[in-house]
Symmetry: C2
Subunit: 249 residues, 2 copies
């Protein structure tokens, strides 16, 4: 019986990523966390803080993937429009969540500051909260869409509490050699054809010792991965090089 | 007369980014380089090394934006299918480019290695070369799509040679204060409403000195940006804090 593949899309919401001002690191963290739950990120998009762009992307990808994770745009300022856009995408209204409101009221402040912070208590009608261990306002999920903060430390606190139904967990093997990709390309292709259930990737790099290639095998069956690793190590030896830095994960 | 806004989409092609194995840094570099040419990245997507995904994304975004930049998947191994997919997206065949082929032949090698490397000489019929100052095979462009390597150092060498017709160059001002976003949210929104041509973003952070917010203004007119910066500095002072780290770019 073929195993069920559970898929996800990540939406990074924020002009600051698209302008080049900020280097996103959230996708990488989310991909690793989901991978450990047997959920595979199949696509990611970086989109601006523009209503049409967010609503359109959310509705497109939530139909296409099992899960959608968003980061960014849930703060108290005018450019934080993610909650509004998610409600619009689902065709529901925004309501004040009393649990979030209570948490916000727990840190008293001047009335106009409080009013701005209360913006963060608005969630789409029917949404569930995502805990935020930093003590700040919670994120939320609705349907298959999980809405999280953009600040990396807060996003990490949130996603660590999300429990997902995943499929078989992807495992990997990797091995590195100081040779050009083309020296193993023919052999690799031949191995890939025989092991279609394993995803074999070839990643060239340059470091102080010269040009090299890291070969990565990903799949769900450890024994098959070990066989592929053995064949690839032989390929490297046949090409006159030494397999280095074998990693099993 | 409203200035023309020139837009771009970046497609990061590679399973290794989606699996979490590799942290992408190419988008950030491309966004900064394009910004200096007056080209604004409006969307970015990370997509897997799967033909349908690549062809579909390329055809969707090349119709939607002035320029499309891809990174990844133009090496010599079986998982490098970007050139094939771009040709398919444009409905043209792949041809051997003699300039790239000559560069490849310049580094003699065994016949099967050479055959694999020749894979990199295949470009869509009618494509133009993108120079590669590292001495490796060139990238290419066809229509409004620019196809570059995934290795950051090679991608950077390639994009540095691309000349684009851009619009007015975005400039920015930023100022930081140790206050919560909500302390300036109302005032910021009011300023944003008066200066609709400026994009005002609020980016909270935490560092060793506590919680803070960086306020970023982006737009094409320096005088307007300076006015907005002055108003925002006043907002910070009115909230009882000190404007810090003013940056003009």
């Amino acid at each position: 019986m073929p195993e069920r593949v559970v898929t996800a899309c990540v939406l990074i919401i924020g002009n600051e990523i698209l302008s080049g001002r900020t280097q996103d690191t959230n996708l990488n963290h989310i991909a690793n966390v989901l991978g450990e739950s047997g959920v595979r990120v199949r696509e990611a998009r970086v989109i601006p803080d523009i209503e049409d762009a967010i609503v359109g992307a959310v509705n497109e990808v939530r139909a296409k993937y099992d899960y959608v994770f968003t980061t960014g745009g849930i703060g108290p300022t005018h450019d934080d429009i993610t909650a509004d856009c998610i409600a619009k995408a689902f065709g529901v209204s925004l309501v004040i969540d009393e649990t979030i409101a209570a948490r916000i009221r727990g840190r008293p402040s001047e009335p106009d500051v409080m009013a701005s912070r209360m913006r963060m208590a608005r969630i789409p009608d029917g949404a569930q909260l995502i805990e935020n261990a930093t003590g700040g306002p919670q994120g939320f999920s609705i349907g298959n869409v999980y809405v999280m903060a953009g600040i990396p430390s807060v996003m990490r606190a949130m996603i660590s509490t999300v429990r997902l139904e995943g499929g078989a967990v992807m495992q990997s093997r990797s091995v590195t050699a100081y040779l050009g990709e083309s020296q193993v390309a023919t052999g690799l292709e031949e191995i890939q054809e025989r092991y279609s259930e394993v995803d074999i990737g070839s990643y060239p790099f340059m470091d102080a010792d010269g040009y090299g290639t890291t070969l990565v095998m990903r799949g769900t069956d450890p024994a098959t991965l070990d066989s592929v690793l053995d064949e690839i190590k032989r390929l490297i030896v046949d090409a006159g090089e030494t397999p280095r830095n074998v990693v099993t994960e």
